[in-house]
């Protein structure tokens, strides 16, 4: 592991639970890690540029900001059509995540997952209906799994 990778890793460990809530958070991190503040900022900017950091900001609790219904819609579509269909579904403004995942036959025939958030189950089901309409005859089976309880939500935790 290069020195740069090691510093990146130490920055992940130091910030995975959150950025310090002080006026100069990158300077506070630098002090904690025993490196220069400029180096911390350069490394973080490089990780953001490469996509190792997806974004920096607030991670809201969906329930607390009014999205009390969260439905994981799952679809069985033909493998040869999935990339075209997935791209169209991912572009819908109410879909926050869309993935191609493997089936787990026989219990699980679904290969396309699209997360839909709303203020009520009815709203989510209406939006899921729009996805069904978009898929048309390519939809061979579908289901919607509503989250009924958050059991854990800590995010990434790698060992320090």
């Amino acid at each position: 592991m290069s020195a740069n990778d090691d510093l990146d890793r130490r920055l992940i460990v130091a910030t995975q639970a959150g950025l310090p809530l002080v006026p100069r958070p990158y300077h506070a991190l630098a002090e904690e890690l025993g490196v220069g503040a400029d180096e911390v900022m350069v490394r973080l900017a490089a990780m953001l540029e490469r996509g190792t950091i997806r974004r920096i900001g607030a991670v809201p609790n969906h329930y607390a900001i009014g999205y009390t219904a969260n439905g994981m819609s799952v679809w069985d579509v033909p493998d040869e059509r999935i990339d075209e269909l997935g791209a169209r579904i991912g572009a819908l403004d109410f879909v926050t995540h869309a993935y191609h995942r493997p089936r787990a036959l026989p219990d699980w025939p679904y290969n396309l997952f699209a997360m839909v958030h709303g203020s009520s189950r009815e709203e989510v089901l209406t939006k899921v209906g729009q996805i069904r309409e978009l898929l048309g005859a390519d939809c061979r089976a579908s289901d919607v799994l509503f989250s009924t309880k958050i059991l854990k939500k800590t995010g990434l935790r790698i060992a320090g």
Partner: protein
């Protein structure tokens, strides 16, 4: 079983903060001051409001969101079919693993047997198989991993709504 989380009150400034700061937080000497300036509030007010929203669990975190795949690690969605009678034991066993980043109970109209859905986050790709093995040993149940084969879109685009 539907979650009945009380929605904490957010005033107009809190909402603007949540809407504006889901990404794009600056990397500079005084980033909170810069972000506060664009929101038309003072740096100390932004810091106090972020702390208060973290304390009230309106925010689960404030900071960088990592894509560990870019560092050689992996995030994998996985499911378990947990019998109701065994729910509490299995829930405690699964949540005890630091590799479990999120865990949700999910129920469907079609009564899929998969009712516990969690995300494994590990520092290496091999860590996933190891975590699956440990969770199976701890629970006595088969873990069904659903690794992403392709991601079509991921962007947080949820504006605060009706939250007061």
């Amino acid at each position: 079983m539907r979650e009945r989380a009380a929605v904490p009150e957010l005033d107009a400034v809190d909402r603007r903060i949540v809407d504006a700061l889901q990404g794009g937080f600056p990397i500079c000497e005084r980033p909170y001051a810069a972000a506060a300036d664009s929101l038309g509030i003072a740096e100390d007010e932004l810091l106090a409001r972020l702390q208060a929203m973290l304390d009230r669990k309106v925010l689960t975190r404030f900071g960088p969101m990592f894509q560990i795949e870019r560092m050689g690690g992996a995030f994998v969605l996985a499911a378990l079919a947990v019998p109701d009678a065994d729910w509490e034991r299995v829930n405690a066993a699964v949540n005890a693993f630091p590799e479990v980043a999120h865990n949700y109970r999910r129920e469907s109209d079609l009564n899929t047997p998969f009712n516990m859905w969690f995300v494994l986050a590990t520092e290496t790709k091999d860590g996933i198989a190891e975590a699956v093995r440990k969770i199976e040993a701890a629970t006595g149940l088969t873990v069904h991993p659903f690794p992403k084969l392709k991601e079509y879109f991921v962007e947080m685009k949820l504006a605060v709504r009706n939250a007061a």
